[in-house]
């Protein structure tokens, strides 16, 4: 049962992290790349941390994984928001919006 959960969470995490890598490499501007990184990579790491909690299988590991998850859900969107604000302030070239 635990192995099935670990397998499913591993597969979902691999899919989401691969999507984040594709977005970082191929999307056309800074805002799109920040979107790909903050959403897909955060959820992929959440899946991996859940798999870690089930693989270790103790209450202590569950608390540790929840702590790391809370820290990442707090920090990764915050850094993405900072990057987006700086891109807006600097008027970085945007895809599909030619600069006047």
């Amino acid at each position: 049962m635990s192995d099935l959960l670990i397998l499913g969470l591993n597969l979902l995490g691999a899919l989401l992290l691969g999507l984040a890598a594709f977005g970082i490499a191929r999307l056309p501007d800074v805002l799109c790349r920040a979107h790909a990184l903050t959403k897909a990579a955060t959820l992929g790491l959440a899946c991996l941390l859940g798999a870690m909690a089930f693989a270790l299988g103790t209450v202590e590991a569950g608390f540790k994984a929840t702590l790391a998850l809370a820290l990442q859900f707090l920090t990764i969107p915050l850094s993405g928001h900072l990057i987006a604000r700086l891109a807006y302030r600097r008027d970085i070239r945007r895809h599909g919006h030619p600069r006047a």
């Binding site: 192995d3 670990i6 397998l7 591993n10 597969l11 995490g13 691999a14 899919l15 992290l17 691969g18 984040a20 890598a21 594709f22 970082i24 490499a25 800074v30 790349r33 920040a34 990184l37 990579a41 992929g44 790491l45 991996l48 941390l49 798999a51 870690m52 693989a55 270790l56 202590e60 590991a61 540790k64 702590l67 790391a68 820290l71 990442q72 920090t75 990764i76 915050l78 850094s79 900072l82 990057i83 700086l86 891109a87 302030r89 600097r90 970085i92 070239r93």
Partner: protein, 98 residues
């Protein structure tokens, strides 16, 4: 079941390697400084994910403090770089090179 688990660990490793490579490429080649900051963030996240996947594979909790530390240092590095650029509004000459 063990074969499937090993296969899923290999898939996670491949995705993390792709994320690290994409982040490093963005760090070296990104057209604007913001792309470089984003690439650094992606590479740091890939390292955190690698530690997590190793602790899944080995079923040990030794890497946990390293996971917390790398998350924190990646966030602090990104925040410091963004705030530095925020408070130094004069762009470098090569900023918007296509």
């Amino acid at each position: 079941m063990d074969t499937l688990l090993n296969l899923s660990h290999m898939l996670v490793g491949a995705a993390l390697a792709a994320l690290f490579a994409a982040g490093t490429w963005r760090l070296l080649r990104g057209p604007s400084p913001l792309d470089r900051i984003l690439g650094f963030d992606a590479a740091a996240l890939a390292l955190v994910g690698y530690m997590t996947s190793e602790s899944i594979r080995l079923r040990r909790s030794d890497f946990f403090e390293l996971i917390l530390l790398f998350t924190l240092f990646g966030f602090l590095g990104t925040t410091w770089l963004v705030l530095y650029l925020w408070h130094h509004p004069r762009p470098t000459p090569t900023e918007d090179a296509p």
